[in-house]
Symmetry: C2
Subunit: 412 residues, 2 copies
Amino acid sequence: MTAYDPSRVVADLRELAARTGGAEGSRRLAWTPDWLQARAFFRESLATLPVEIDEDEAGNLWAVLRGEQPATVLVGSHLDSVPKGGWLDGALGVMSGVELIRAIAAEGTPPVTVAVVDWADEEGARFSRSLFGSAACMGTLDIEVLRGLTDREGQRLPEVLADHGVDIDNLDGAQRRMADVKAYIEVHIEQGPILEQQGLGIATVTGTKGIERERLVFRGQAAHAGTMPMAMRRDSFRAAARFALAIAEIGERHDGVTTVGQVQCWPGVVTAVAGETRITMDMRHISADSLKAMFDEAHHAAAAASEAEGCTVEWEHIFRIPPMPFHPELLAAAHRAVAAVEGHDFELPSGALHDASEVAREIPTVMIFSSSIDGLSHTKEEDTPDEHLQMAADAFHRTCREAIQLVAQGRL
Amino acid sequence: MTAYDPSRVVADLRELAARTGGAEGSRRLAWTPDWLQARAFFRESLATLPVEIDEDEAGNLWAVLRGEQPATVLVGSHLDSVPKGGWLDGALGVMSGVELIRAIAAEGTPPVTVAVVDWADEEGARFSRSLFGSAACMGTLDIEVLRGLTDREGQRLPEVLADHGVDIDNLDGAQRRMADVKAYIEVHIEQGPILEQQGLGIATVTGTKGIERERLVFRGQAAHAGTMPMAMRRDSFRAAARFALAIAEIGERHDGVTTVGQVQCWPGVVTAVAGETRITMDMRHISADSLKAMFDEAHHAAAAASEAEGCTVEWEHIFRIPPMPFHPELLAAAHRAVAAVEGHDFELPSGALHDASEVAREIPTVMIFSSSIDGLSHTKEEDTPDEHLQMAADAFHRTCREAIQLVAQGRL
């Protein structure tokens, strides 16, 4: 019997990094040869076990260990990375799941089916559509939007996916994979600084924050920087600056996060008052009520900032996802696992989206986080102490064991 | 005898616009065929008069009417425009000067020499070096900087100018043209909204404002918009926003103008806190003391904004020119001319640079402004009521007559 071995998870992660990374960081961009190489390592790792390995209609890679019941405990994450990305983002969850299958398979036929999935194109780094594979399985993709997506080289998403055997007119078939899934567990690095600041290695994740993402277009009047008196200006950038400071205050006061990350001024020259300024706003909160309050206040703040500068403001919707609180029974299991491994009950919401955000729409879900050094991710500097990676894999395994029991008992 | 006829100035401006403009605006970009066509019209307008017409070593186009003394009253402005520019910017001053030469020449040999100059490449729209021709005549060009300038198509300034007979290693020769110049008078559109707001057609210009132009680089820490708590952020864009609002307040309080016209954030994506934000600052004042106070306060404001957001700030110098107050005797003459034409003594500083800014470094100078409809310039919508154009030409002519007397009497 092969007991679950967290050190083997770390060894597998290092092997994966050796095959698909380097001095410039990870190269596992979805729908590229390096990504296929990572997936080959996944298949290889499970090759000698009694599992069914195949891809679904959306390109998600599954390894299924049939149990006494079709009811399934699903685990997973994603092997794809952003360009020059980190070695742990996504890979930790997949390789922890591979080790789970090894440990369970070694014990004979499990009471319920256990599966690990490598979700396709979680990052959306090439076509700007994140959570692709998990969204396909949950039926939340907009096919018409997908049809129009291209990468920087002008390659069209439908054609690139077709080269990987994925027909975007046939994605719905992937939803059948979820029919028997009763629980989903994902372990991931935090990608933020909170656990490190708390001096902790792991934590229970309470859910993923809801997001409101908008583009704001402030319009005033372009004017000569030398000849237009201050009192007569309608300066769109000043309106945007007022808004940016107001939105930061709103985020702080509600204990959420708000960000203005992209700014463009027109005409955008040193000698001209900006007639038009476009900014993006991203706001997140784990509470739907708080997120709504923040969003309403942002509208008031934008109107006030515009009025103060004699400008107008227009909102262009970019993206929205509601908060996804995780399942109480699985949260309790995760809390017990974290307490057993590190001896505390610290929990936090995830500020980043994960495939778990999609799955949690309909299926009981929970996540475990490991710490991230300096909170860094999506960069080659991304790292986590080995000890914390092993603690995370350990807590993940314990949580999975409880989930298997809960599903076997029909309690999920 | 041909008396000075302001209506002929307007007729010439319309003819020039018909030849070198259209629905898209003026096309008199320096060092292009359309600009040469405008200059051909200048030569044509003076062809039958006893004037010497030629270009100096910097490509400035001169028409000189020799008087009883070599001591010279110089008038002028520029025929070049920005792409899709207005029909009056620069052209008003040149065509008013052409009419002056006609009127003076009709009276026989004047007591002093009178000359009109079409300064080359005032706008700097192609190679980003404005006031080219007038700066050459005043010896303030940096030849090494010129050597490295290219346009958007990658054409190098030295080669383009060589095609127009201008050798950048021989620009100094143009300075000889100024040896006998005792006074310089330029009439121009305001390019701002102040005269229109005052309900006036023309005004005396007291000088051109000094300019401090800098790039500020705020540096914080790029971070994930979802996972980095507000309290731990070092948001460079928030620092820039604080500075932009502070600098506006500084401009208002000192009765100057301050502008942040260009903003760039890195990484510049909706999901990331901006690790670095670059902005431009342009500040102007007619008083050197006030400009210095504003500049000092801007440094304090930038330091305070950076500190408030846990960022650093670095200043990169772009451009500086001191205020250029005009000459008291010529200002008095201009005031009398404006009073005679429109019956008031309204005066204002120029927020925009003009060739007069260069000439005023060493030579008694004054300017007259006409109003600008809606304060617009550098656009095809640029316009001024005909009545105001004629009043401006009239006041310009009266000022020139006084200048000729002052020079003839050895008082300038």
